[in-house]
């Protein structure tokens, strides 16, 4: 029997991440974001990471101090980000990333979201490159190879393989078969397929092998290598309604 995929702690699950690794982080607007794995990687301290993610921030369902890609950046662990958002979308916003890019400390590769997803899907499907209509005629296509198929111009894009995928799932069995709940699925299965090693934070108790019907598996266990059950709060990070977060923070202030 191969070694169990169930790890007792996040620290053990990320202990071997080497400097210079390419790590993908799932999640979209907090949902499915591997908050606990962000924290573990911040504590583990690997440097010169290339980080792939939709964006660098968190969202309203987590406290402002919850770990995210910005935390790794301000922790000086990141040398490159590959994201669909590398600058604020509103004048009122400020990204931690901006300061590091301005100082030349981090390289930021901006990729349209669909291209980002498809580049990882390609890596996971053994496709080294493909053509896409997205970004044709824009600054992002300047100086790059395009080609016409059926009278329309397309941009050549290469696969984006990952060393590690950090993802969050709803349900898992001991073999690593996963289910995601609602929009939690987003980038998570795609990143797992692109990765050499997939590490999962799991919301529900990990089920015995085979407890998920084969027809209902969202990501087969052959793509999953390490899993950790998220402990209840406050030890584990769990998104909450913004009103609850505000109330708790208020209570904390009042207690001081």
């Amino acid at each position: 029997m191969p070694r169990s995929k169930i790890f007792p702690s996040f620290a053990e699950a990320v202990s071997d991440i080497a400097d210079g690794s390419v790590v993908g982080f799932g999640g979209f607007a907090v949902v499915g974001m591997p908050v606990n794995l962000y924290q573990a990687l911040a504590e583990q301290g690997a440097k010169n990471l290339t980080c792939v993610s939709n964006g660098t921030g968190g969202g309203a369902t987590l406290p402002a101090d919850a770990p995210n890609l910005s935390r790794l950046i301000s922790n000086n662990q990141v040398s490159k980000v590959i994201c669909a958002f590398t600058a604020p979308t509103r004048a009122s916003q400020r990204l931690v990333l901006t300061e590091y890019v301005d100082k030349g400390l981090i390289e930021a590769e901006l990729v349209p979201q669909g291209t980002l997803a498809e580049r990882m899907r390609a890596a996971g499907a053994g496709i080294p490159a493909f053509y896409t209509p997205a970004a044709v005629g824009t600054e992002l296509a300047e100086g790059r190879e395009t080609r016409v198929f059926g009278g329309r111009e397309y941009l050549l894009e290469e696969a984006l393989p990952l060393d590690y995928a950090f993802i969050r799932a709803w349900q898992a069995d001991a073999f690593g078969n996963l289910r995601f709940r609602r929009s939690q699925r987003n980038f998570n299965p795609v990143m797992a397929m692109a990765a050499r090693v997939t590490i999962v934070e799991v919301e529900e108790e990990i089920l015995p092998r085979g407890a998920i019907d084969p027809d209902d598996v969202h990501l087969p266990g052959i793509f999953v290598h390490r899993m950790v059950k998220i402990p209840p709060p406050p030890e584990g990070w769990w998104p909450r309604r913004p009103a609850e977060i505000a109330a708790q923070q208020q209570a904390g202030r009042n207690a001081r």
Binding site: F28, A29, V30, V31, G32, N54, G55, G59, A60, T61, A84, F85, T86, A87, P88, T89, A91, L97, T98, V101, D102, A108, L110, V111, P112, Q113, G114, T115, A117, E118, M120, R121, T132, P133, A134, A135, V136, G137, T138, E139, L140, W170, F180, R181, R182, S183, Q184, R185, N186, F187, N188, P189, V190, H218, P239, R240, R241, A243
Partner: protein, 225 residues
């Protein structure tokens, strides 16, 4: 200088665009003003809202306290699901977009040009940008509608002859709604189709940065009773 509060409210802008949605259309809404389109009343028409994160068939925003923390739209807002909804992953979700199955995407913009170009991912001089799914959507949706304020906070026109900042896609915009009116991009250029209550054609012209085709009689923006 324009008055952002003048003319249509943001919900009215979205209500008007939503009248253009046809029965059975698959609709994708960008972050910001466009998200208000999923709150509209479509009567007998069936409108299927698709979000970049793989949600097909969402509906109005969840009521506060009723949010499903596992379910957001592309703007990160907690929404509800309609009967018949389905979930796919991000690569499949953009497969739906790129294969031309989105009947219309409604996007915000910094600038829309008379030739149908538009810009919504980076401001002048900014390093990097916030593209999200806009380039995939703009390049591939059957129709591209834009919902934005008539001018910037400083009163500069957002309707322009040619975009001054990097574009999101070229020649793709069909219809634009601002708080001042409804515009169509035609083969001959930007055409004012309907005007907001309380706004004059002179005010529209003064806040528009491109040649504008204006009919002799400009009907008021159609609004639901």
């Amino acid at each position: 200088m324009s008055d952002a509060a003048k003319g249509l409210t943001r919900q009215q802008m979205c209500d008007r665009l939503a009248m253009e949605f046809q029965d059975g259309w698959i609709v994708n809404l960008g972050i910001g003003i466009p998200t208000l389109c999923s709150n509209c009343d479509f009567g007998d028409k069936e409108i299927i809202f698709h979000a970049e994160n793989g949600v097909i068939g969402y509906g109005p925003l969840a009521r506060p306290g009723d949010e499903d923390l596992h379910l957001v739209n592309a703007g990160g807002q907690h929404v509800t699901l309609q009967p018949g909804a389905a979930i796919v992953h991000h690569a499949d979700s953009f497969g739906i977009i790129r294969s031309g199955r989105i009947d219309v995407t409604v996007l915000g913009a910094y600038e829309v040009a008379a030739n149908g170009d538009f810009a919504n991912w980076k401001t002048a001089g900014q390093k990097g940008g916030g593209i999200g799914g806009a380039m995939d959507l703009a390049a591939c949706a059957k129709h591209v509608f834009v919902a934005m304020e008539q001018t910037t906070r400083n009163g500069a026109p957002r309707l322009v002859e040619r975009c001054a900042i990097p574009v999101t896609a070229r020649g793709v915009v069909d219809l634009v709604i601002t708080n001042y009116g409804l515009y169509e991009i035609t083969a001959d250029g930007m055409a004012l189709k309907e005007i907001a209550p309380g706004v004059t054609v002179d005010e529209v012209r003064a806040t528009t940065g491109c040649n504008l085709i204006v009919p002799r009689e400009v009907p008021p923006v159609r609004l639901r009773a």
